[in-house]
């Protein structure tokens, strides 16, 4: 079941939280929704889950609009809100029973579903405890279990790993991956590594607008489209070397690295390598080339480029 967001707009007062966003999440896909805090991730998710209505545009879940038939959309979605709200005074098993009932799970199946969720989410030893007594990691699992109890085709997870310790993060990620094989999953995060590890595709949103929609590897390639090398050149005047490097045809930008006296960062024009030219330049001028290392741009930098510079 696919989720399609069409020209979605939502404003709070004069501030536009989401500004004309369109994207699609296909069946069986895990899509990561990235963006700095306040970019509009949560707002978009709240509209998909029918918590709020949009000001403009529409969201369709399996072809059904959130505005025309919210109840049907809600039945198809499992939602884990950012704050993971739970009835703290209820025992885990009673809470899951309540959610199953309210989600319209058939009476004869409720017991089996609860058993399955408790097993899948690793809550077996905690099922009779009150939710408020559980640790944060286990509460997060309860949150996931309640989102999954009615076997929804679409899962919307708002920062599912926030506030967990590294071991728990890995466990929850594995769980999402396992579940995500058959379902349509949209998960938000501001941790890049997490999205890269779990998601098939990445959407980056900034100030309410979609700034990127591709896979992690494409984003990485996009970043490495321009070759960057760090070079150290000795036996020559610093300024002379600088102008020499800049005069190479294929070089776009030369940066002095402040912490070294003889090191430079050389950025080439898109798609061309300048390494040979640099070497030749050094030979011609009689400089000694002591280091030439390619600088790999991290996904974090791509993210920063997309969300800060623009």
């Amino acid at each position: 079941m696919e989720v399609s967001v069409e020209n979605l707009t939502k404003s709070y007062g004069f501030q536009k939280a989401v500004d004309n966003i369109s994207f699609k999440v296909n069946t069986g896909e895990i899509v990561g929704f990235l963006g700095p805090n306040g970019a509009g991730k949560t707002t978009t998710m709240k509209i998909i889950t029918c918590f709020m209505g949009p000001n403009g545009g529409d969201v369709k879940v399996g072809g059904i609009s959130v505005q025309a038939n919210p109840e049907e959309v809600k039945r198809r979605i499992g939602y884990l809100p950012e704050t993971n709200p739970l009835y703290k005074e209820m025992p885990v098993i009673d809470y899951l029973h309540y959610v199953a009932e309210i989600q319209g799970v058939h009476k004869t199946k409720i017991h089996d579903r609860i058993f399955e969720m408790v097993t899948v989410c690793g809550l077996k030893s905690e099922k009779y405890k009150k939710i408020g007594e559980l640790s944060k990691g286990f509460q997060q699992r309860v949150g996931l279990a309640q989102a999954l109890i009615h076997d929804p085709e679409v899962l919307i997870l708002d920062e599912p790993t926030s506030g967990l310790d590294p071991n728990q993060i890995v466990e929850i990620r594995e769980l999402i991956k396992k579940i995500g094989r058959e379902k349509t999953v949209l998960l938000s995060s501001h941790i890049l590594a997490e999205v890269e590890a779990t998601c098939d595709r990445i959407l980056i949103i900034n100030k309410g607008q979609l700034v990127a929609d591709s896979t992690a590897s494409t984003l990485r390639k996009q970043a490495q489209d321009k070759e960057i090398v760090k070079v150290s050149i000795e036996d020559g005047d610093r300024n002379e070397i600088y102008t020499g490097l800049q005069s190479i045809e294929t070089v776009e930008l030369v940066d002095l690295l402040p912490e070294y006296t003889q090191a430079f960062e050389v950025q080439s024009k898109p798609g061309i390598s300048s390494r040979k030219a640099i070497f030749r330049l050094c030979v011609d001028k009689g400089w000694s080339l002591t280091e030439m290392t390619p600088v790999e741009r991290k996904l974090e930098e791509v993210f920063r480029d997309l969300t800060i510079i623009k």
Binding site: E71, E72, P81, T83, P85, Y87, I102, G104
Partner: protein, 241 residues
């Protein structure tokens, strides 16, 4: 209907789990029992086999206890964020409101049911007007439903339970007392209007054993207005602002 009942069950359980229900029942039975049987213009002083003194006391005890029951119904869920979870489940706002209303109403019904021994006792002492007792209970139920509805509305406009409690009392006191008092001290159509708005007037006519469609209509419209107000507050999250 099924969905409403699921919500009602959860709310009722949480009343009993949080001891709220027990405290409410014990305090209500304590107060009403004390003034019905032991102190003030109690049954023995009046010397009649009637529950008039009980109904007179309950009129006030319920007025103070109901806001305590309803104050958390929406405010607490809004504060803890569970409201977001609830409204993103396949239930309508009306089902949520009706479920919560019904839970509070059932708690009051349980509490009042526990005073049936009063009726049995009095009936065994003397000749009691059975229909007057029935109408008295009916009056209490209608009054309770009205205040529950106002209480849920107050609870929906804040995240603070104490504020919800005080708002309910504040709105309630007008219907309970103030409209009646002003009506008595003024005249003309204004007095008539306030007299009609005063809940006490309608309650007393019921407690005397008179059933009038005007009174029932009055209670039903208060209940409906309160619930409608709650629905409007809840649905405000959808609107474009």
């Amino acid at each position: 209907m099924n969905k409403i009942w699921i919500i009602t069950k959860r709310e009722l359980r949480s009343f009993f789990d949080s001891l709220m229900a027990y405290v409410m029942i014990v305090l209500f039975l304590g107060f009403s029992g004390f003034f019905t049987w032991i102190f003030g213009s109690d049954i023995f002083m009046v010397g009649q086999a009637s529950l008039q003194s009980f109904f007179g006391i309950s009129f006030w005890t319920l007025f103070f206890f109901i806001p305590a029951v309803t104050m958390g119904l929406v405010a607490e869920e809004r504060k803890s964020g569970t409201l977001e979870l609830l409204v993103t489940k396949p239930v309508s706002d009306w089902q949520i409101i009706a479920g919560k209303f019904l839970a509070a109403f059932l708690l009051i019904c349980i509490t009042l049911a526990l005073t049936i021994p009063y009726y049995i006792t009095v009936a065994s002492i003397g000749k009691i007007d059975h229909s007057a007792v029935l109408m008295g209970y009916l009056g209490l139920l209608f009054m309770s439903a009205s205040y529950i509805s106002l209480g849920i509305f107050a609870s929906s406009i804040t995240t603070n339970q104490i504020v919800a409690f005080l708002i309910t009392l504040f709105i309630g006191i007008f219907f309970h007392l103030v409209f009646g008092l002003i009506s008595m001290s003024s005249g003309g159509w204004f007095a008539g209007l306030l007299g009609y708005l005063s809940l006490a007037t309608h309650y007393e006519s019921m407690a005397r054993g008179v059933i009038d469609s005007k009174d029932i209509l009055y209670f039903l419209s208060i209940i409906f207005t309160g619930l409608l107000g709650t629905e409007l507050v809840l649905s405000r999250r959808n609107s474009s602002n």
